[in-house]
């Protein structure tokens, strides 16, 4: 079941290589992506809220070194899998008008989809590592071939940064492997064994190996410098996937692996990591405010939002071994995971919004060059405002639920840090409101008078995301239930 979902996009990607007709290629790409989305909805239907890790599949692969093909899904990975599916399909729809080297483009998007799904579903470190690394290659090409003016620099920078993290993680994985008895790459068995629990020195090395990999991916301050380059230069669909999903692989790693495999070490350094998260929050918000390039602004707001996630995760890590803080830790983690989804939906939408105005209409992203667009493009303005308000955390929209839970949980664990973090929310709010004012309000700039409002393709891509922001903002319960069940189990297992 999960394997079918995983490899459908890749199969579609290989299949479309045999076609020449652009319409056939687009059709196959969307079809494969939607089929995989459909399978994941069936998975959602079969999902048992309190079943823990489920739909497990395990096949022998390289038995002589304890490697097997193991996949499974729980309340942490399921929402991320659904997010991946949604944003991948949206990206393909949005990319309908790409005609330069279309075949390669669609193939890479589908390969990327399989790899991302694999990262969230893999339960074997070897398999996980392969998927993790495979995401780099299509993203490198997507930025490098279809990107903006500085695409080559951005693409190689992205590749180099993430590779150094990945290899550091590989060392961590091997340290876990060699200290386990029996030696295995099985994630569930390793979590149960806690192979490095007694060896603080090795555990510390392995923890920082994982940390480097995930922190670069998230990206945490000061490892964020690849992000603005990559996001700005990537084509719109690339930015959507990069911000919407690839960044979540880092935070997912922190929750799934760092928290469960090295709880003592993580607890020891939780305050330090929380400070890095706070720096990311404040720095990201301030730098975003100073941007005049709309895409860069959204990119830096990602640094800010991922800081909230890391604040929640480090709060949960700090609470390890303190039973009285368990409830707060669960709340913070719920918020962190919810924020991953919320940020994926909202920022994915925001990058599409930037693409709508930049790719096919104004061909500029300068915030100050617009003004009064609200009167010219009413539908576009409406959707943009919903997305930006959701991003700044307006109640009744998705971002608010996430941030509320994160701060609620973090206040229980370290109130000082949480209070400082609130500063970031204020700056972000100011930043987005000011942006809305500069683009949509004020006197209409006559230069943009003839612009057409959004077409069907763009609506098909953006409306579902906007609807989700509102639905989960008003009624977050279905999503929160899934997350909460998994996080409660996780926190309980850490005691």
């Amino acid at each position: 079941m999960l394997s079918l979902m995983l490899f459908l996009p890749l199969a579609g990607g290989i299949f479309l290589l045999f076609f020449r007709n652009p319409r056939a290629i687009r059709g196959i790409a969307l079809g494969a992506s939607l089929l995989s989305l459909y399978v994941s909805i069936v998975v959602l239907g079969r999902f048992d809220l309190h079943g823990g890790m489920q739909l497990l599949e395990s096949y022998s692969w390289i038995p002589s070194v304890g490697i097997a093909y193991r996949v499974g899904i729980d309340g942490l990975s399921l929402p991320l899998v659904l997010l991946t599916q949604l944003l991948s399909a949206v990206s393909i729809v949005y990319s309908w008008r790409v005609d330069m080297r279309l075949k390669e483009y669609m193939f890479l998007l589908l390969l990327l989809q399989t790899a991302m799904l694999g990262v969230f579903a893999a339960l074997d470190f070897f398999l996980f590592y392969i998927f993790w690394e495979v995401t780099l290659v299509p993203m490198y090409f997507l930025i490098g071939i279809w990107g903006g003016p500085r695409k080559e620099y951005a693409a190689i920078k992205f590749f180099l940064f993430t590779l150094i993290g990945s290899l550091a993680m590989l060392v961590g994985i091997l340290l876990l492997y060699f200290n386990a008895a029996p030696r295995t790459f099985d994630v569930l068995s390793l979590i149960q064994q806690q192979p490095l629990a007694g060896q603080l020195r090795l555990a510390t090395i392995a923890f920082w190996g994982f940390f480097l990999s995930f922190a670069i991916k998230v990206p945490m301050w000061p490892f964020h410098t690849w992000l603005p380059d990559a996001h700005v230069e990537a084509p719109t669909a690339g930015s959507v996937i990069l911000a919407g999903i690839l960044l979540k692989m880092g935070t997912y790693g922190f929750v799934r692996y760092s928290l469960t495999l090295f709880p003592q070490v993580f607890q020891q350094y939780a305050s330090f990591i929380a400070i890095l998260a706070l720096l990311g929050i404040i720095y990201g918000a301030l730098v975003a405010m100073a941007q005049t390039d709309l895409k860069k602004l959204v990119a830096y707001s990602s640094v800010n939002h991922m800081g909230y996630v890391m604040l929640g995760v480090s709060a949960a890590a700090f609470a390890y071994g303190k039973p009285d803080l368990a409830a707060a830790a669960t709340t913070a983690l719920n918020g962190a995971v919810f924020e991953m989804i919320a940020h994926g939906v909202i920022t994915g939408a925001l990058f599409l919004i930037v693409g709508v105005i930049y790719d096919y209409r104004a061909h500029t992203r300068g915030v100050d060059e617009f003004g009064g667009l609200g009167a010219i493009l009413p539908v576009y303005s409406g959707i943009t405002m919903v997305a930006m308000l959701a991003s700044l955390g307006l109640p009744a929209l998705m971002g608010f639920v996430a941030e509320f839970l994160i701060f609620l949980g973090s206040f229980g664990v370290f109130p000082g840090f949480a209070a400082t973090g609130l500063l970031g929310i204020i700056i972000t709010a100011a930043m987005f409101l000011w942006t809305i004012q500069r683009i949509f309000l004020g006197p209409a700039n006559p230069r943009w008078k003839g612009l057409a409002d959004m077409d069907t393709r763009e609506l098909v891509a953006l409306v579902p995301l906007t609807v989700l922001m509102v639905i989960f903002g008003v009624y977050p319960r279905p999503l929160l239930d899934i997350i909460n069940a998994a996080m409660t189990t996780l926190v309980a297992a850490l005691r």
Partner: protein, 490 residues
């Protein structure tokens, strides 16, 4: 006289020697324009040589099985390298057949000595087989010299090309000096233990004073280091690779290197290790230096063959991790797995370089611009080989690197620093490998004409490409094979 039953264990070697002689004869009787026939006979003969080798792989399962009074090993380790040498030689001959035709088309009369070329390659292949199986210092010396002599000729094969002549001469001078130093090391070891047999040395080496043994090891490393292009004996590599015919460069980078590592490991693990001398620190240091020097010097290269030469030096550093980590479940096999995987993607990269070089008349990386549109199949394979050289999954290069890092971590936490050096170097290497991909895929072509992919080379390329992917996705058979081979080293 050695018992006649010994000869039954030498069928692959005898077959290869006979094949070389037959090829000389065939070459006499085929016309100027049909020298490819010699190549086809060579390929057929080499493939047939795999049959008795396969038979040996099933038959030999005792550690330290030797023939000719303990001087020549027929253990699983030797059988593993027989396979490696035969496969590498076959692939190189396949690639050369196209190389000669393509460069003949451009220059007119480069094919005159084509027949001898294939013969020399087969003899070199025999030399590699002998190197990997020698268990006596004298035989080690002889087989290394055998390989060196044929390689000097091969490197200088393009008679009218001054760079090729320079390559041959440079290779010869470096090789002669390195061999002399190595022989001095051998003679010291003989003087200290009174025997040339590695297995007899192993019994007596514990009583040898450590400083003398260290000197002897260091001197021997000069010779081995030359063959595997380890820093500081690497200086010949870029010039020779650049000047030599590209298939020869491929052969040197894979065949000689693998056999050199086989000798190095056999001498160190069999003869030196029992003394208790700390060779690991020395090897680990050389490994780290080789990685850094190779990778940092590869960064500014604009010629694909020079780039691959420096990459070959850095890979020697990676494989030396396997020597340092020898011992234990991963350590025993790490080097074998790395060399076997390395063979395919390195040969593949060189073959494409050979093809492009012959078609464009240039080995400059900038001339690869737009290759993804001019030759999509070639560009895809080259990208695959470059990712594999970097160690990105799911390729053979990733698995090899994964395995060798695992070996070092398993061996001792004290080798963690070496793994860290390896990690840093993998990242450095990404930059120049991806530069090739960038040129092929990101830059527009200067000349939109398509490049033809000839049938013979396509066979060699698909074998290397498929092996690069398969060994990355399903390495289990290779591990089983390598474990059987490594167990036999006593």
């Amino acid at each position: 006289m050695p018992p006649a039953s010994d000869l039954a264990l030498l069928v692959p070697e005898l077959w290869l020697a006979a094949l070389g002689l037959v090829l000389l004869g065939v070459d006499l009787f085929v016309g100027e324009q049909n020298k490819r026939t010699v190549g086809w006979v060579a390929v057929g003969g080499l493939l047939l040589a795999l049959v008795p080798t396969w038979g040996l792989a099933g038959a030999v399962h005792r550690p330290g099985t030797t023939v000719f009074f303990g001087s020549y090993a027929v253990d699983g380790f030797a059988v593993f390298f027989k396979f490696l040498a035969i496969i590498a030689t076959t692939l190189v001959i396949l690639a050369s057949m196209d190389y000669f035709r393509a460069s003949g088309d451009r220059q007119g009369s480069a094919q005159r000595f084509e027949g001898e070329f294939y013969t020399l390659l087969v003899f070199t292949g025999l030399g590699l087989v002998l190197m990997a199986a020698s268990a006596d210092l004298i035989l080690v010396a002889l087989s290394i010299e055998f390989v060196s002599l044929t390689s000097y000729v091969l490197a200088a094969y393009l008679k009218g090309n001054p760079k090729s002549n320079e390559a041959g001469l440079k290779y010869f001078l470096f090789g002669a000096a390195a061999s002399a130093v190595m022989f001095y090391g051998f003679s010291l070891l003989y003087g200290l233990t009174g025997s040339t047999s590695l297995y007899v040395i192993a019994e007596k080496v514990a009583t040898v004073p450590a400083p003398a043994l260290t000197v002897s090891l260091a001197l021997m490393l000069a010779g081995f280091g030359f063959k595997i292009s380890m820093v500081p004996f690497h200086q010949w590599t870029p010039d020779v690779y650049e000047g030599a015919p590209t298939p020869v460069a491929a052969f040197l980078s894979v065949g000689s290197k693998a056999a050199g590592f086989a000798v190095l490991l056999r001498v160190v693990a069999v003869a030196i290790a029992p003394s208790g001398l700390d060779y690991v620190t020395l090897i680990a240091g050389l490994s780290a230096i080789s990685m850094f020097v190779g990778n940092l010097l590869a960064l500014p290269q604009r010629n694909i063959k020079r780039m691959l030469a420096y990459s070959s030096i850095s890979h020697a550093g990676f494989i030396l991790i396997g020597v340092a980590a020898f011992g234990g479940a991963f350590g025993n096999t790490g080097l074998l797995i790395y060399l076997f995987a390395y063979m395919f993607f390195t040969l593949g990269a060189f073959f494409i370089a050979a093809l492009i070089g012959a078609r464009l008349g240039s080995d400059g990386i900038p001339d690869y611009a737009g290759l993804s549109q001019r030759a999509p199949g070639l560009a895809f394979l080259m990208a695959l080989f470059m990712l594999s050289l970097t160690g990105i999954p799911p390729t053979a290069g990733f698995f090899a690197k994964f395995y060798i890092f695992a070996a070092a971590i398993e061996r001792s936490p004290a080798l963690l620093w070496l793994v860290a050096v390896g990690v840093v170097n993998s990242v450095i290497s990404l930059y120049y490998y991806v530069n090739v991909i960038r040129t092929m895929y990101l830059l527009p072509p200067q000349d939109p004409a398509r490049i033809q992919e000839p049938a013979v080379l396509r066979t060699a390329l698909w074998v290397t490409g498929a092996a690069t992917l398969l060994l990355g996705l399903y390495p289990q058979p290779l591990i089983t094979f390598a474990r059987a081979a490594a167990l036999l080293l006593p």
